[in-house]
């Protein structure tokens, strides 16, 4: 998940949580506030009633006769004042919620009870307000609070989305830039435009790293050039000298034989050196990858190059290639080297009269899987992971070689983002599978 999404999710969740808590706490808050308000209203009313009694006397409020009790309702009957003479003890003012019958239905009333002496007689007052009206207020409050909360959450969310997006934009820029790096020649980036110091720091660090990589690549390139020159020149001298010596007419046979042997040794050394330099150049990205390579055509070429060896070992070659495997951007020279190394191994380690199968099919997700299978002696499972290491050879009986072929294969495959896997079993034999990445269209020049 992207950082931006995570941040937005976080703020959304925390806001949602706050809103939920508020909504849950709302009944209690409203209840408490409304009760307080009602209670103070009741007290005010009591004082007004007391003042009125003091003005006009208690008789005004009481009916004449023995009942000594009267209840006044207001017009809508959600308030009442009840006055009653009593013989019991006086008590302190209390406020409570009591049900009361009204038109046959029980309605909750908030009631203030008060006792007091008037003209030597103890009276109790009850002043009540219906809570039904309170509930109405509460409903209204809850609805409007809900809307207000939702509105607030949404508005702040939108603002935050915008702000977070804007703040995190440099991250996208940095990633874009890193992606654009396609080799040692890092493009020269202008400094990132941001006021966030973290991003400035990150950008500067990346620039520094790119420069460092560039320097290392440059040094390596220089080293390869020097090594090539310094090592290949003396080899050249020796090779040419041996060649000239062998041209002499009157050379003793024994000397001739020794020269041929020396020449062979030199040849081995040359091949090894060339291969090491090739690997270095591949890893140093010195091969331009700017072609679209038709893999089937390369395979055909490589097979033609090796037809004599295939024939000599009486190996039967089977083609089971479906579709049109293409690779781009790629270097045809290198892909040819990769294929010819795999095929040459498939011949070298095969048994006489064996079989080589070249098969392949496009896979879901646009990748193409190419398999080169040979019926050679199976490779021990322990050795499989080390197969592509330099100077590794596992079959002591096999033909001479430096064990660099597969190292070359690996470095070329890596350069082209080709995944390579090996399976080896008795029966079907050893299979090298190349997973070609989906074609990247080259810009037309």
């Amino acid at each position: 998940m992207k950082l931006q999404q995570k941040l937005v999710l976080l703020t959304t969740l925390s806001k949602g949580l706050m809103a939920a808590i508020l909504l849950l706490a709302l009944p209690w808050v409203v209840q408490t506030l409304v009760m307080r308000h009602t209670d103070s209203a009741l007290r005010t009313e009591l004082r007004q009633v007391q003042a009125r009694i003091a003005q006009v006397g208690i008789g005004e409020f009481l009916p004449q006769g023995p009942a000594m009790r009267r209840t006044h309702y207001d017009l809508l009957q959600d308030e009442f004042i009840d006055l009653q003479a009593t013989t019991s003890q006086p008590f302190r003012d209390t406020i409570g919620t009591f049900p009361r019958r009204q038109h046959g239905a029980a309605v909750d009333f908030r009631v203030l009870r008060h006792s007091g002496y008037y003209q030597g007689q103890l009276y109790t007052f009850e002043i009540g307000k219906s809570i039904a009206s309170v509930e109405d207020v509460y409903d209204l409050l809850r609805t409007s609070a809900g809307y207000a909360l939702a509105f607030t959450v949404l508005t702040t969310l939108l603002i935050e989305l915008g702000v977070i997006g804007h703040l995190l934009q440099p991250v996208d820029h940095i990633v874009e830039r890193l992606r654009a790096v396609r080799g040692p020649q890092a493009p020269d980036f202008p400094p990132l435009r941001t006021t966030t110091s973290d991003f400035q720091y990150l950008d500067a660090s990346i620039q520094q790293m790119l420069l460092k990589i560039q320097r290392v690549f440059e040094q390596e390139r220089q080293f390869i050039a020097n090594a090539s020159h310094e090592l290949l020149t003396p080899i050249s001298i020796l090779q040419n000298r041996f060649e000239n010596m062998l041209r002499a007419e009157n050379l003793p046979e024994e000397a001739e034989a020794q020269l041929v042997t020396s020449q062979k040794t030199l040849q081995r050394m040359t091949a090894t050196l060339r291969t090491l330099l090739l690997i270095s150049r591949v890893e140093n990205n010195q091969f331009p990858r700017n072609e679209t390579v038709d893999v089937r055509e390369v395979l055909t070429d490589a097979v033609e190059e090796l037809e004599d060896r295939i024939g000599h070992k009486q190996i039967s070659l089977q083609w089971n290639l479906t579709g049109q495997p293409m690779l781009a951007p790629a270097s045809r020279t290198l892909i040819f080297t990769l294929i010819i190394n795999l095929l040459s191994n498939a011949i070298k380690y095969n048994r006489a009269g064996g079989e080589i199968e070249i098969s392949g099919q496009p896979e879901a997700g646009e990748a193409y899987v190419l398999n080169i299978r040979n019926t050679g002696k199976p490779i021990a499972a322990d050795n499989l992971p080390h197969l592509f290491e330099r100077f590794r050879r596992f079959d002591p009986e096999a033909a001479e070689g430096e064990g660099l072929g597969l190292a070359v294969v690996r470095s070329i495959a890596q350069l082209h983002f080709v995944q390579i896997t090996v399976t080896s079993e008795k029966g079907p034999g050893t299979t090298f599978s190349l997973r070609l990445p989906p074609l990247v269209l080259l810009p037309t020049p």
């Binding site: 050039a225 090539s228 020159h229 290949l232 020149t233 080899i235 050249s236 001298i237 090779q239 040419n240 000298r241 060649e243 000239n244 062998l246 041209r247 046979e253 001739e256 034989a257 041929v260 020449q263 062979k264 040849q267 081995r268 040359t270 091949a271 090894t272 060339r274 291969t275 330099l277 090739l278 150049r281 010195q286 091969f287 331009p288 033609e304 190059e305 037809e307 004599d308 060896r309 024939g311 000599h312 020279t333 040819f336 080297t337 010819i340 190394n341 040459s344 070298k348 033909a399 001479e400 070689g401 430096e402 064990g403 660099l404 072929g405 070359v408």
Partner: protein, 243 residues
């Protein structure tokens, strides 16, 4: 023919000179870019063998210069140990006639020089013959009289190379260098046994058409040669080495 060898390594220049002298070329030497410029200004050469890694100048600059000024018609062959991928492309773009990475076989160099000369003089032989056999270079086929003989690409190359250097002994190494070049990365792929196998197959195929002669001779432990054509009626001559 006049050859200018531009090479900073004395020993290497010497071996090259020895070989070319043997092949009847006249050699001149330059060890630096400056020296080469001077010689190119004063003399006319048929060939310039150019090392790219000169102490004072990039060989490619010298190449461009030679192409601009005097010696416009000289054939230039780049001999380089740098072996960078761009060098070859740049060199050929700048007008070099051929490119050989070091180390190369002298015989291969000689063959390339002959090929360049033939191209330059518009000699397009598309047929070479020996005994009763004819190699058709344009469609890469082999015939004996009217009977076609099926050969593989490598077998054809082998026979062609032997025929180009007819009567000379070619070592297995020279043959393998020519046939495989630097395609193979493992030295075992250069194994001279492969050459023996090729030779065996070619011999077998030749013998099917002409059982009386052994055309490809084994020369001790060194290599092979195509037998000179004494007994049989004179065929179209193999291209004379440029002298």
């Amino acid at each position: 023919m006049n050859v200018l060898i531009v090479e900073d390594d004395r020993a290497l220049a010497r071996e090259l000179g020895l070989f070319l002298y043997d092949e009847h070329y006249h050699c001149d030497y330059a060890r630096t870019g400056r020296e080469a410029s001077e010689k190119l200004f004063v003399n006319e050469y048929d060939f310039v063998l150019l090392d790219l890694g000169l102490p004072d100048q990039d060989g490619l600059e010298l190449l461009a210069q030679a192409r601009r000024e005097r010696n416009k018609d000289a054939s230039i062959i780049i001999l380089s140990a740098r072996g960078s991928v761009d060098d070859r492309i740049n060199g050929l773009n700048l007008g070099a006639d051929d490119y050989l990475p070091k180390p190369y076989s002298l015989l291969e160099l000689g063959s390339r020089m002959q090929a360049v000369t033939r191209r330059k003089h518009g000699v397009v032989e598309d047929k070479l013959a020996f005994g009763g056999f004819v190699l058709n270079l344009s469609d890469r086929s082999l015939k004996h009289g009217d009977t076609p003989i099926v050969v593989t690409r490598k077998e054809f190359d082998l026979l062609h190379y032997l025929l180009l250097h007819r009567a000379k002994v070619l070592t297995r190494l020279q043959l393998s260098e020519h046939i495989w070049g630097s395609t193979m990365t493992d030295s075992s792929d250069h194994d001279s046994n492969y050459i023996d196998v090729h030779v065996k197959n070619v011999r077998k195929k030749l013998a099917q058409a002409d059982a009386e002669n052994e055309w490809i001779e084994t020369v001790r432990g060194i290599g092979y040669r195509l037998r000179p054509d004494n007994a049989t009626p004179a065929p179209a001559p193999a291209p004379a080495p440029a002298a």
